[in-house]
Symmetry: C2
Subunit: 429 residues, 2 copies
Amino acid sequence: MVPHLITALTGPINELEQRILDATPVIERWFRLEWMEHTPPLYCSVDIRNAGFKLSPVDTNLYPDGWHNLSPDMLPLAVQAGQAAIEKICPEARNLLIVPENGKPSSFYLASLARLQEIFRMAGLNVRFGSIDPAVKRAVSYALPDGEKITFEPAQRTRYRVGLKHFDPCTILLNNDLSAGAPGILEDLHEQYLLPPLQAGWSVRRKSRHFQCYEEVAKRFGKLIGVDPWLINPLFASCGEIDIHEPSGGECLRSNVDALLTKIRRKYKEYGINEKPFVVVKADQGTRGMGIMTVRDAKELAQLGSKPTRGKALPEVPHGEVIIQEGVLTNERIHDAVAEPVVYMIDRYVVGGFYRVHADRGEDESLNAPGARFVPLAFANNTQLPKPGVKAGASAPNRFYMYGVIGRLALVAASYELEATDPELEALA
Amino acid sequence: MVPHLITALTGPINELEQRILDATPVIERWFRLEWMEHTPPLYCSVDIRNAGFKLSPVDTNLYPDGWHNLSPDMLPLAVQAGQAAIEKICPEARNLLIVPENGKPSSFYLASLARLQEIFRMAGLNVRFGSIDPAVKRAVSYALPDGEKITFEPAQRTRYRVGLKHFDPCTILLNNDLSAGAPGILEDLHEQYLLPPLQAGWSVRRKSRHFQCYEEVAKRFGKLIGVDPWLINPLFASCGEIDIHEPSGGECLRSNVDALLTKIRRKYKEYGINEKPFVVVKADQGTRGMGIMTVRDAKELAQLGSKPTRGKALPEVPHGEVIIQEGVLTNERIHDAVAEPVVYMIDRYVVGGFYRVHADRGEDESLNAPGARFVPLAFANNTQLPKPGVKAGASAPNRFYMYGVIGRLALVAASYELEATDPELEALA
C-alpha cells in the first residue's frame, strides 16, 4: 500500500537516519519534556524536503487543508489524537465550530473539511461550520460526492462569544488563514478557545520568525542526538520590507542571496556534495506556493532595483517582506515524478502524511502548484514506525518515522513562534 | 482485511447499536468526564459476548497478554496511546520495567511480550524485563521466531526501588497477575509507579466486585443513552466462600443459580427472546478460563453438598469463592466457528482487538480454552469507526465502535474497582 519510492539516498542522510532511529527513546523523551513547557498548535501540516544529504521542513501550515489526502487507514490515529486534544482543552465540551476559508469552496477543500468534521465528530464533538465570509448571509449547503453535504452557516457574534443559531461551541477551530487580518467577529473572545490563536493568521505571522524559532529547535535537537543542525535546518535570511523597484531593495536582496549561497557552498564543500546550491526567494507572509523564485546566482537579480523597462519584465520576485531560504532538493520520486512528503499532526501526535507529487516540476522547484497530485502514506506492516536494528534506508517507509520527527520539530518551533507573538504574553513582558 | 462475520443480529441489539452510534458525541463526552474523576488502568483487555439481543463484557483482564494477536496495522494507535499514558504518568521517564509471568514462557507469551516491548519502545522508553520468579537467578534469553530475543533478568530490590542492574525504571508495568499474592519485592514502592497497582492482583481482586462496579456503570450509561442497562450488563450473584462438599455450600449455589435463572427468564420474556437461559459458574478469583461450568437448571447441581461417591464424579464446580454470572450467548461466527470479540485498551484508548474463535465450542461455552484461534480485527476503510447515517448492522466492522464502547465501560468499572480496593484510599476512609 505504501508507494514504492525511488530514492537515491547516500551520504550523511543515512547516518542521520540511523542516528534518529537509534535515539528514538531519547528523542521521544525530549518531545515529552518540550510539551511540558510549550503548547502545540491544535493541528499543523509540514512540507518536508529530503535531499538525500539533508532533510528539512520548508513550510509549516497552521491552517492545514488536504485532510482528505491522508490514507483512511490513518483515521483512527487522527481521532485518538483529537480526543487527546479535546481532553486537554475542554473536556466538558459538546460542540466545535470550524471556521472555513472565505469564498466559494473547491471540491477538494470541501472533501478536506468533511474529513476534518469526521475526525472531530468521532472524537466526540458535534461539529458545524461557521463562515466569517461577509458574503455568507444564510446557510449554504454543498453536496459531496458521497451524497453527504457540508453546510456553511454565518457565524454569529454575541457580546462575549461566537457561535451559530442554537449552537454554542466551547472551541472555535480556525481553518481560515486570516490573510486579510483578524476579523472583528473573532476578536476579544475571552470565554471561548480560538485555535490556532489570532496571531497565527498570516497578517501577523512571518515565515522568517518561524524559521528563526526552528533554527533554535534544530540546534538543541542537533546537540541532543549529536548531529550538525544544518543537516535538518534550512538556512535563511530576510530583508524586511523591500521595494524591488528601488535600488536599495534590489541591493538588499542581491547581497543576502549572495551571502546565503556562499554559506551553502561552504557546507556543500564540507560534506563533499556535488550539487549546485540554490536559494528560494518567497514572500515572508502568505500560505500558498505563489511567487516562489529559485535563484542560483545573485547575478540573476541584476535587473532588480531599476524601474521596469517597457517590454522587459522583471523577474517575478515577491513584493513586500521577503524571506530568502536555502533551497533543499527533493530526492524522493514516485514513478519518476518529483515528490515531497507532507506530515500532518493533531496536538502533539503525527497522524498521517502523504507525498505531494508533481510530474512537471524539477527537484529544485516548489511542488505546491497546480498539477500536483497526492499519494497517501498508508500502513504497510507498520513499517512507518522505526524498527531498532533494521538497517536504515533498507525499507523506504521506515523513513516515515524520521519525517515525523522533523515534522514535530517544526511543530515545536510553531509553538515557540506563537508564544513569541502572543499579545497577552507580550503585555506581561 | 476484516474477517467476514456471519452474524444474525436481530431485535433489540440493532436498536442498541443505532442508539450508541447516534449518541457518539454524548458518549465520548461522558467518557471524558469519567476520566477527569477516575484513572484508567494503564492497560486492559475485555472479552465481550454479543448475543444479538444483548451485548456484555464477560471478563476484564488487567494483565493482558495476547498483544501479538492484534493486527500490526493497529500498532501506531497503541504507540500513540502509550505516549499519552507516559506523558501523564512520568514524562521525564527514560526506562520502563516489565514484570512478566513467572515460569517458563510459552512461545505465544514471548510473542506478546515482544509486541508490548515494541509498543513502549516506540512510545519512547527503554524497555527491559525484570522477572520476580525466584527461579530466575540470572539473565535468561529466549529466541523469537524473527531472530530477535527476549531477555528476562532478575528484578532487584533496593531499599526504595525495584530495577535491574544499571537500569532504574520510573514505572514498573506488571504483566504478572500475582495469583500467588503480592511478592515482597514489589511492596512499599513509594518512589516508583507500579501499574497496575498491587490490589489488581488476583489475590485481592474479585470478579464479583468488578461486575458490581460494572453494574453501576451500566446503569448510569443506560440512563445516559436511554436503554435498559440489562442489554449491556450480565446479571450475577456470588456465594462468598463455599465448600461444595458441604450441604450449605451446595444449597447456596443452587438457590443462587435458581434465582438468577428466574431473573434472566423474566428478562427473556420481556424481550420475547426464545432462548434457554443459562448461567456460568466460575471462580471469583483467577484469570484463566479454567473450571467454568455452564448450568441451565439448578437441578444439574443436585448432587452438590454431598461427599463424593466412589466412581461417581461431582460436576466440576470451582472451589472456594464462586461467582454465578448470567450466560451471554455469542452469535458472532467466523467460518461457522463460534467467535467472541476481545477489545484491547491502553490508558483510555481502544487500541485494537481480535476475535477469539473456537471451532469445537458451543455458543454458550467459554472460548478461552485450548484450541482457540485468534483473528485480528484489522482496518478496512476505517469501517471500525462509526459512520453517522449508515444503517446499523449494515456492515459488520461498524460494530467495532460499539465493542469499543462496551470495552471502555468495563475499563471505567475497573477504575472504580481499583479505587475501592486502594489501601491508601481505604486508610483515609
